[in-house]
């Protein structure tokens, strides 16, 4: 497949099946490892290569259900790198992506009589960005050489490895200050853990980390933040795309396409009415349920499947049904 560039840093074709007609590469699922399948188009491959070449975070925008989260997991799989995922909520602070500090446990320890309080490092818990930037100092919780005997080693949740993909999922849900607070850490792959007895500067190598940040576009990101990222906007799913993913997961079956067509119709209606659109994951749920229960899209009971797994409204009346 001629991409128009050399995919020097990221080439899913090495692990997947190339479809020259559609210009896509499908990397199959590895469900045991929790890796879903993904269909790569040329712009996605370019964006990942560009993020790695420039050492900048990859900001992935797109409407809900376009496969942003799935993409990051699959990229880590293709690269063979460790994978950290942090879903952002309205309460998430930038620091929570780097480390947390267990104040309550320290207070509890301080109440015990005749007890020497361990160093503050004992109460520090490294989070995704720390593990990704510097797993060695994360494992010691940032303790100095003299403190290490008093501090339990932390366990890397992603296992051993030097290189990693970090997903910061749905950053648009966060407080507007969070992207700005992350600017420096992401720009220079460096931050300071200031809750230790001796503050520690955590330094990462940008070539060892691919930070991916997703947004559903519910909030505009600060321009200073966007300027520091490579921006990839995922297109809405197509019938072909959904069909390919279902075929990879379940094997070929013509009714995948039928369900995909119905999902696309529901997405269009939901978009028109400004409602939630059924996602790729929900499409796969519908396919799995239909296969398991033997309910085909033309069956009378299909609307019940669609209402429960795709439409999901309080008023579940499916568009186009009576």
């Amino acid at each position: 497949m001629d991409l128009g560039f050399k995919p020097r840093y990221f080439d899913p074709a090495r692990k997947g099946a190339v479809d020259p007609e559609r210009g896509t590469v499908t990397v199959g699922a590895n469900l045991a490892a929790g890796v879903p399948a993904y269909v790569y188009s040329s712009p996605i491959i370019l964006a990942v290569n560009l993020a790695r070449a420039s050492g900048r975070p990859l900001f992935v925008a797109g409407r809900p259900g376009t496969g942003k989260t799935t993409l990051s997991r699959n990229i880590a799989h293709v690269l063979g790198w460790k994978y950290y995922q942090r879903v952002v909520t309205s309460r998430t602070r930038a620091k929570d992506l780097m480390w947390t500090f267990d104040t309550l446990r320290r207070l509890s320890d301080a109440q015990e009589q005749n007890r020497q309080l361990p160093p503050r490092a004992a109460y520090v818990q490294p989070q995704a960005l720390w593990w990704a930037f510097d797993p060695a100092s994360a494992a010691t919780r940032g303790a100095s050489a003299s403190e290490r005997s008093q501090v339990t080693r932390a366990v890397d949740p992603a296992g051993p490895g030097r290189k990693s993909v970090v997903l910061i999922d749905e950053i648009d849900k966060a407080d507007p200050d969070v992207p700005n607070d992350l600017l420096e850490a992401l720009d220079v792959a460096r931050f300071t853990v200031d809750e230790l007895d001796t503050p520690l500067e955590v330094r990462g190598r940008r070539e060892n980390v691919l930070v991916m940040i997703t947004s559903n576009g519910e909030r505009e990101m600060p321009s200073a933040f966007i300027r520091r990222c490579v921006v990839l906007t995922l297109a809405d799913p197509t019938v072909d795309w959904l069909d390919t993913i279902a075929t990879d997961r379940f094997g070929p079956d013509p009714f995948h396409r039928e369900i995909a067509e119905r999902v696309m119709t529901l997405r269009a209606v939901a978009r028109e009415q400004n409602l939630r659109e059924p996602s790729t994951a929900e499409y796969l749920d519908a396919v799995a349920a239909s296969r398991a229960l033997g309910i085909r899209p033309r069956a009378k009971t299909w609307s019940l499947v669609a209402e429960s797994l795709l439409w999901k409204r309080e008023d579940p009346k499916l568009p186009g049904t009576r």
């Binding site: 991409l3 560039f5 050399k6 560009l50 109440q111 490579v230 921006v231």
Partner: protein, 326 residues
């Protein structure tokens, strides 16, 4: 080093290392690095494309885009007479032509049966994808409703002070609902679809029963008509802390001298009465700050109801209290 040069370095590195040889791919690279609007980018691209076997890379990379930017082609300057003539031609062109004689004898088209479908061209003042975030920022209130404030607990206990109550973290919440006051004056007529759209968005954001919707003309202090009721009543002051959102143009768009164009003092009296009752009123205005009445701008909570408004800007306007308590 200027920031744009840093990003151009990324562009050059990307193009060089990925051996990009396709113009469309190169344009995608510009978009992904947010450089597509940079004036100098095409020149940088040409330079980058020239970097390859046989080209001195060091020389190419030191030629900054600024140095190579071609002069901007400006349209030829017109004399003042020519400009006047052009303006006259435009003015003549925009005048309504006389009605043709057949118009009076032609029957009007029949009205379509049923309600007119909403225009697909309608673009609400708050873009639909961003409306949720913008409204959350506008209607959120602070409440000590969050998780246990461990830090505050620790400080008290560490100083051997008894905890009389569990301190909780202050968080923004929408649980107090909102009162929405809709200006039905003449000046708001052009924004009726935006009002309807925004009310629908608020209905999706807040639970049913949490929103009370009232209409008024002039200011709410003159009286309000609850949605779906025929009679005007005095403005019902909501419970203390409940956010009040006023969708209004403050009479800016109403004809001069109209009752729908109240004096600034009347608006100030309304905002003051709400403030004294502990009710935070925010007005969403479809006109920009330059047109806001001088006596109101800066002294009351006004937000520009516009597609360029961001949640961060709303928080800056409304949220000194929010920021101070964080």
């Amino acid at each position: 080093m200027r920031r744009s040069q840093i990003f151009l370095a990324d562009l050059l590195r990307g193009i060089d290392q990925l051996k990009i040889r396709d113009a469309e791919v190169a344009r995608s690279v510009l978009r992904m690095l947010s450089l597509d609007r940079l004036e100098a980018a095409p020149e940088a691209l040409r330079q980058a494309a020239a970097v390859g076997p046989g080209v001195d890379r060091a020389t190419a990379s030191t030629q900054t885009p600024e140095m190579k930017t071609p002069p901007v082609q400006r349209p030829p300057q017109l004399s003042s007479e020519a400009r006047s003539a052009r303006l006259e031609r435009r003015a003549r062109g925009t005048a309504a032509p006389p009605a043709p004689p057949w118009l009076d004898s032609t029957p009007a088209l029949a009205r379509p049966a049923g309600p007119t479908p909403p225009s697909r061209l309608f673009q609400p003042l708050f873009p639909r994808t961003l409306a949720r975030g913008l409204l959350s920022a506008t209607l959120a209130t602070l409440d000590r409703d969050g998780p246990l404030d461990i830090q505050a607990c620790v400080e008290e206990i560490a100083q051997l002070r008894p905890l009389r109550e569990f301190p909780r973290e202050q968080v923004t919440t929408l649980r107090l609902g909102a009162q929405v006051l809709v200006d039905s004056g003449l000046g708001m007529a052009p924004f009726r679809p935006d009002v309807d759209d925004l009310i629908a968005r608020i209905g999706q954001l807040l639970a049913p029963g949490q929103v009370s919707l009232l209409h008024f003309a002039g200011t709410p202090a003159r009286g309000c008509v609850p949605h779906g009721h025929p009679e005007m009543k005095p403005w019902p002051m909501p419970a203390r802390g409940t956010p009040v959102l006023v969708l209004t143009d403050l009479g800016i768009g109403a004809p001069a001298g109209s009752r729908d164009r109240p004096a600034v003092s009347e608006w100030l009296a309304f905002f003051d009465s709400a403030r004294l009752a502990g009710v935070a009123v925010t007005a969403l205005l479809p006109y920009g700050p330059k047109r806001w009445p001088h006596g109101l701008a800066g002294s009351v909570r006004l937000v520009h109801w516009d597609h360029r408004t961001t949640a961060a800007a709303i928080r800056r306007t409304l949220g000194p209290l929010l920021r101070a308590t964080r």
